[in-house]
Structure formats: C-alpha cells, structure tokens
C-alpha cells in the first residue's frame, strides 16, 4: 500500500469539495478499494471517507418507495429493508459478515463489478441513483463492466427503490469468490415485470427484455418455457462457459419467479 491522506468530512458538501483534490477518491466500506490499494493497484493520494455521513445512512420507506443511503452497509440493508424482502435477502447474501458490516450500497454501485449483486437489484427495480448533483435512472446508470454514469468526484448519496408487488433475487455462486456466477433479480410491478441479470455478460448487468415481456403477460416460470438466451457476449472463464452462463440465466430467472414474494 502506498501512503495516502485520510479525510473524514462532516457533510456531503465537505466530501464533494474534498474530492476536488488531485487523486482524491471516495472511500465507502473499503471492501473493494482497500484490497486494490494493498496490492498497489490503486494509488489515491487522499481517501475521503463517506461512512460516517449521517445524510447518507439508513433505510426508509414512503409511498411505495424505499430510500437507502449511499453509505448504508449491506448488513443494515439486510436487517432493515424488510419492506422490500427481495432486496434485504440479496444484501444478506453478499460476501461474509465482515464484508456486510463494512461494504456499502454506494460503493458497490460505484464499482459496478460485473458479478456484483446490487446492480441487478437497482436495474431490476428501475431504481433511481441519487448523487450530490443529480438523479440518474438505473437504465442510464450502468454502462458496462466497472463503468457507470458517475462523473469524477460524484457521490452516490442514496438510491430510491420502487417497492414491487413481488420480487426475488437468485444467486448462483461462483465457487471461489462466491460472487454471482449468474444472478437474476426479478421484480413484478403493477405496470410490468423487470428482469435484471448480473454475473453473466461481458457488458455487465443488463435486462432480459424477452423474459420481461413474457412474465409481464404471465408471471409464472412456465412463461419462460419457449425462451432461450444467446451465449453471444456472455462471459467464459475458469468457472463457466458462455453457454453455461446463458443456460443459468434462464434457470435462475425461473427460480426467481417461482420464489418471488
């Protein structure tokens, strides 16, 4: 690890200005950033810690929308997002207790790992990513592996999740990292069903529109019967081929529909 300065701002506004410094970087729970720094793969000059900012903490629901602060840990979401069981369930299966007690929603979304869980919930819920500067619709936010709509120094302060009638997240574990080899988030709203897939594609988290259409017409696993997922653009690695991932997308979608509550 290289030397760095550590700043603990008192407000989002202070954090935003601290992030103007050259090579400054936001620090959430550090579960992605610190290992990268330990391996000398990242060299921020200043870390601006967001984890103590009360403006960015907590889970609240109002009028069918759940708002979660960007610095809220996975463990807090698991414990307090009971009004959105699919989301609480997803959070409760991220990593291990240490990761869940440190890692944050904002950090996960800013990082946008192609195998991470949260991006599928945000995209699958059609959520809104709230930053210090603007509101970004989920469909505009995710732009490919490790790529997002965030500008330099922009902070995710909260995410607004419309609570669906039914939802579920199915995660098929990559056996080593236990990230998602394939994860599928299904959410059924009055105006239609959204299906978001993580872990599978070289383009990162994405929606499966054929399934959305079929499930919007008939919300049952059987509705997927005639569909197939193309292996084109799916990831092939040590843990699974593109064809296997494509196959799992359908299986996990069916299971998510069956389990949706």
């Amino acid at each position: 690890m290289y030397n760095f300065d550590f700043v603990s701002p008192g407000s989002v506004a202070d954090a935003v200005s601290a992030l103007q410094a050259e090579e400054a970087q936001a620090l959430g729970g550090g579960q992605t950033l610190l290992p990268t720094m330990k391996q000398r793969l990242a060299q921020p000059s200043t870390l601006v810690s967001l984890s103590g900012l009360s403006e960015m903490l907590g889970v609240s629901s109002d009028g069918g929308v759940m708002t979660i602060g960007g610095a809220t840990t996975h463990a807090t979401v698991a414990a307090e997002a009971g009004a959105y069981p699919a989301l609480a369930g997803l959070a409760s299966h991220i990593g291990d207790p240490a990761v869940r007690n440190r890692g944050t929603l904002g950090g996960s979304l800013a990082n946008n790992d192609p195998a991470a869980c949260y991006p599928s919930a945000v995209l699958g819920s059609g959520a809104t990513v709230v930053t210090n500067a603007r509101e970004i619709a989920a469909d505009d936010y995710f732009q490919g592996m490790f790529t997002t709509a965030l500008e330099e120094g922009e902070i995710i302060t909260a995410v607004k999740f419309p609570i669906p009638e039914k939802g579920n997240y199915q995660k098929f574990l990559q056996p080593a990292s236990r990230f998602a080899l394939v994860g599928v988030f299904v959410a059924k709203y009055a105006d239609g069903v959204r299906v978001a897939v993580t872990g599978a594609s070289e383009d990162g988290v994405h929606r499966w529109s054929e399934a959305e259409a079929a499930l919007s017409a008939n919300f049952s696993a059987a509705a997927l019967d005639g569909l197939s997922v193309s292996a084109d653009g799916m990831i092939t690695d040590l843990h699974g081929t593109d064809a296997y991932r494509a196959h799992l997308v359908k299986v996990m979608t069916g299971r998510a529909v069956a389990a949706a509550a």
Binding site: R40, F172, P175, A176, S177, L238, H239, G240, T241, Y244
Partner: protein
Amino acid sequence: MPKDGGIGASTKRREDLRFLTGRGKYTDDINLQNQTYAHFVRSDVAHGTINSINASAAEAMPGVARVFTAKDFEGVGGVPCGWQVTDRHGQPMQEPKHPVLAEGKVRHVGDPIAVVVADTLEQAQDAAEKLEIDITELPAVIDMKDALQDGATKVHDDLTSNLCYDWGFVEENRDAVDEAIKGAHHVTTLELKNNRLVANPMEPRVAVGDYDFSTDEHTLYTTSQNPHVIRLLMGAFVLGIPEHKLRVVAPDVGGGFGAKIYHYAEEAFCTFAAKAIGRPVKWTSSRSEAFMSDAHGRDHVTKIELAMDENGKFLALRTDTHANMGAYLSTFAPSIPTWLHGTLMAGNYTTPLIYVNVKAVFTNTVPVDAYRGAGRPEATFQLERVVDKAAREMGIDPVELRRRNFITEFPYATPVAVEYDTGDYHATMDKLLEMSDHAGFEARAAESKANGKLRGFGIAHYIEACGIAPSNLVGQLGARAGLYESATVRVNATGSISVMTGSHSHGQGHETSFAQVVSEMIGIDANQIDIVHGDTSKTPMGMGTYGSRSIAVGGSAMVRATEKIINKAKKIASHLLEASEGDIEFKNGEFTVAGTDKSVAWGDVTLAAYVPHNYPLEEMEPGLEETAFYDPANFTYPSGAYGCEVEVDPETGKVTVLGFSAADDFGNIINPMIVEGQVHGGLAQGIGQAMIENCAYDDQGQLLSGSYMDYAMPRADDLPMFKVDHSSITPCTHNPLGVKGCGEAGAIGSPPALVNAVVDALQRAGHDVTHIDMPLSPDRVWAAMNS
C-alpha cells in the same frame, strides 16, 4: 477404558490453549533487533531471457540496505533435489540447476529475479518499483504433451528435452502385462486428469535469517515441517555452512500439507543475506506470492487399463502417466509419481501383473511436489475410478467387484515391490456399508427423484503407505536422505520428562499424543511430559513430519528411547531396593520387587539418578537420558472404505455432498479425537479437490487461479457432517505401537468416492457419462450431462 491421558484416550489437545488464545508463536511473530525486510521481485512472464537488471535507482531509495540478484549467488549452490530417479533404461533423471535467484532466464510466473532488502517492507516495495529489469519473453510450454513434442521450447536449454525421466515399473513386467491385456476377456480403459492443487496452509511461508559474526553462527527461523532436513540441504548443498554453525528453528507452524517440506530459495536467501548485510532479514509471503511460489500438488494425466476375466477377476493393470514437475525439481518431486505412486497401484487387489509408466515433464509452471497424500491419491484415484467403470461395464455391483478381488491373506507381496503386513478389507467395506446405510440408498434416491434431483452413491477402497522406509531401501530407490526418526527422552531429577523428537507438529497435535504414549509407558501423568520439537539445537537429527510418518516412525523412536530409560531405571531401582534386577517390576510409575511389598517410586529413582549418593556408580553412569533412532523395517499400510452420497441438480449441474462416511483401519489408535480430526481435515481437502479446487494456467503460463477470487477452497457449508470410524484394527506388525498413521487417508480415499458418486447419479438418470475430470464444478457436470 483407556487410562486418562494414556494410549487410547481422547485427551484434549494441550497445544490448542495457545493456538485458540492467540499465544502461538509462529515464524512471523519472531522479530529480531535491527531486522530488515526482504521483498522478492518475481517474474510476471512464464518464460523469458533476462537481458539486464539495473538496480542503481532502487539502491538509492530510502531505507534500502541492498538489492540482490543472481550475481550475488554465483559462489553458492542451487536449491538441491533430494531424490534421484533412474529411468526405464537405467539412466539418471535429467536434473536442471535451480538457482536461488533466476540466472539468465525466468522459467515460471513467480520465479524470483531480484530481492530488495530495506528497513521496512514498504521501503523495499517502493524501491522494487525502481528496479529496471529487461526481459525478452519467450514462448512458454504449459501442457505436458506439448512439452514432449519434437522441437518444443525447452524449459532448460542445457537439458536434452523437457523429459525429466521415463520411468517403468516393474520394467521386467512390461511385456507380460501387454500380453495379459491383449488376451483378456475384457479391458476397461479410462483417461483422466488429477488436477493441480495449491496447498494453501493458513499460515503462509515465512523465513527470518540471522547471523552472529562473533560466533560465526547462522540461525534460520522458518515455516518448515522438517528443520533438520532444511539444515542439511541448505547448509551442505546451497550455502556451505557446517551443521554446528547453522541452527534451523521451525516454531509453531500453521499447517503444511506437504508444501512446507521442501527447501525453498527464500530460506537460503534470508540466511545468506543476513550475513551479507550484517542484519537479520525477514521475508513473509503474501497470499498472492504463495500461489506462485509454494510447490503445487498433483497434476497427473493418466491412461489406465484394467484387464479382467469373465468373472471380473483382475488379471493385469497398465498405466501411462504424465506427471508435471513444473519448471524446477522441488525437493522430493521426482519420488512422488514414481515410488510413492507406482508402488501403490495394486491397491487392495490381487492383480498379479502391473506395469506403470510415468513420464515426468518440465513445464513453465510452478514446481510440483508432495501434497497431502503425495502420489497415493493419484494412484488411488485412477485405480478406484477404473474399478468403478469396470463394474459398470461388466454389470457387476461395484462393491461386489471389489470384494472379488480383495487381498485376504497377509503378509501379501504385491507385484509392485511392496509387501502389505496386515489388513482386513472386507471388514472396512462391511463397516462402511453399515455406517452409510447403503441398504437404504434406493429409498433415498427415490425421494431425491421426487424432488427433481439425482442421487448417487460412490465407493472407494484405498490402500496407502506411510512411514516410508527402510533407509537402505529408499537409498537404492534414489533418496538422498535417510528416513529414520529420532527421539531423546530426558528425565529430569524430579521425574518430569522432556521428549525431544525429530518429528514436527504443524497441526497434528503431537504435543498431546506423543505425551500420551510416554505417559502410558512410564505411568506418570501426561502433564509431567513435555514434547519438544522444531529446533535443530534442541532435537536430535530427525527427518520431520510428512507421509503420515510421525507416530509410526517418530513415535517408535520415542518408544525405543523410553524403553532404554525404563531399563536403566529398573537397574537403579534394583540397587535402591537391594533386589536383583530380574525381580523388579515396573507399573504405574512404581518399581516393586516381585512377590514382596517393597517398592520405590518413579520420582525416587529419577532423583537417585541425578543425586547419586546411593547409586551403583561403578556399574552405571548417573543421569537418565536416552536417545534412539528408529529405522522402520517396512512401510505401514493403512486402508479403508469411503462412501460418498451426492445429489446433483440436473438444471444447474451443482453437486451437493449429502453424506460422507469413512471406515479406516489405522492400526492401533493413540488419541481417537485427534485421529478423527485428521480424517475430517483430509476429507475436506479431498472433497475440495474433487469438487472445487483447481489450479489452472492459460497457455501463456499465466496463473488463472492466483487468488481466492478464483481458487476455491472448501468451506464448512461445502461439506456434510462426516461419519468416521476406525474400529477395524489390524495392528501394524513391525513397529512397537502397532500403529499405521492417519494423516493423509482422508485426502486419498475421498476424491474417487465423490467422482464415483456423481457418475453414479448421472448414470442412474440415464446419462451416458463415464467420467468427469475434477473438479466437478457445476459447469463441468452440466456440460457432461448435455454433451
């Protein structure tokens, strides 16, 4: 009932108090005054020519003591190999030099090129970034068969090819085996891989070198399973330091699994550099370094053929194996695919004719050496897989086919040079079927089917050979070491005892179980006995711990030394009791004169030995301390029946291990709880290998599984609750305790049981799948079902 703290008691492990309360003292806990830190700069390409190394900018960085490269090691030897295998044609294996730091060429990702030594680790790392290393990348050879092609890139330019040796065993049987296979009623053939593994002990490797110019003494603290072996190899072959000036200490060691047997370049480096810069030098491996510098395990590719008559009687067995050596020969690497593998190919069966061919191959990968089981898992895996396949092809139940071919008369001389002293394979098989409720399997399978899952049951019956021996024989086979063990039993004046053993404990619980043996023999409380190990300045020359040898060989040495103590103590007692020696009886720590009520206590005798006022000084020296070296007459042969029950999710290919039963024959048992723990650990590693562990390279020689993000270690929820039993006991006939060893069995017997179970599940569901290479990850199982 076993005596409290004696043989057969499940005494709680005394060492756990310090391990569980954070008071263990591991190598990384050792910090010496004025210590420096070494940072190794390692190759990031699999093969390349080092054109130049410019260290001047690095050396000018703050805190840097010195930068070392191969030039600094011109005057010393290479890291030696401890075993020379002779090939089919009577020629010695090809043995390349293994320099401490890469000379002219790098040969695998992780090969050390230079070392920066500085006041702090961060300074060493900062300076390392200023090193200018110019390397021209060369084509790499990764696949063993590619490496043997004519014109293949050579890993070592000075060797004739990438073939280390072509070994045939038993060479004289070659033609007879070919004939028998040609004429057989049925031949079952199977091609398989034994996947490469990374040992991943919880504690990474660490070395701290120290040198005292005022006494010319070197000390190396290191994470080793055998400090005396390191002292010998490093002192005599690499650095030229005589034993009396070199002390090697292996304090608490957090797991080894084989990977900490070998003498590594980092040990020689720290010892050498400490003298060169006049300050202690410490190196602690990062986990990433461990993946590319600890010796890997397994990595065999095999074709096996089993010939049978119409009743399924085994007639002949032929195997053709390619064994990956990696880029250099690690300490015992050549012996693993040969003497620890070929000699086990009879398994539990009466197969009269066996021929094993092994081609050991150099590739641009990390060196491969023994990993828990070492050669025996590879032998067991292919044999128990081919027997299972044969059973299906012959339409004979796999249990029945094994039973038809079991060896039942002992001693039994196999056609592959070893002689099993005892065993009862039907007994362990019976026990297994009972423990695993084999009879109830069909009902459980039906239940799974109703839930849309495929259930399967797999069996493996293993033989293994522990306590490799005797020394004169292994010498003929190419070992450049003896394989005895030593112990000094030092009785203190007031009767307490220190046992200095050449065995080394790195998780096995010797401090508890060895004390139980002496407690039983002397009849004093086990708490009066301390086991001292891991320091060449304290223990007699011993060979350390691997190959499940500690209780069978180290324990036997301790028994012999304790017998000498008892003999001498009896003489002292006879003097004190004014009785003839022949009339002295010794029991429960008390010497009595037969047929009288005269007695003297252990403590009085030991006191007399050290305060010899009333003592036969004319006949005997005072003191009570004895040493024994024990060289076993034969290997020991644990065996057992393992059963695995799995469920396969047909939609995803995911395998769930529902149950695992192990019925072992370990001979006599010293501490059942420790034995169970050893089996549990072995099973976890074997199931890990079969299900998820996989060390993979791409064809450029980059490690694809270089961290826990991609190398899957088994976790508690990957494993079922184990059922283990060791009540089938046929004691070893040639060591004093009748013990066989239990350290590796779990890792040997479990992979074939698991793969057999998955194949069973798929075949029951109508899939024409006869084999899947390990690990049986979901994608592979799914691909096999859908091919």
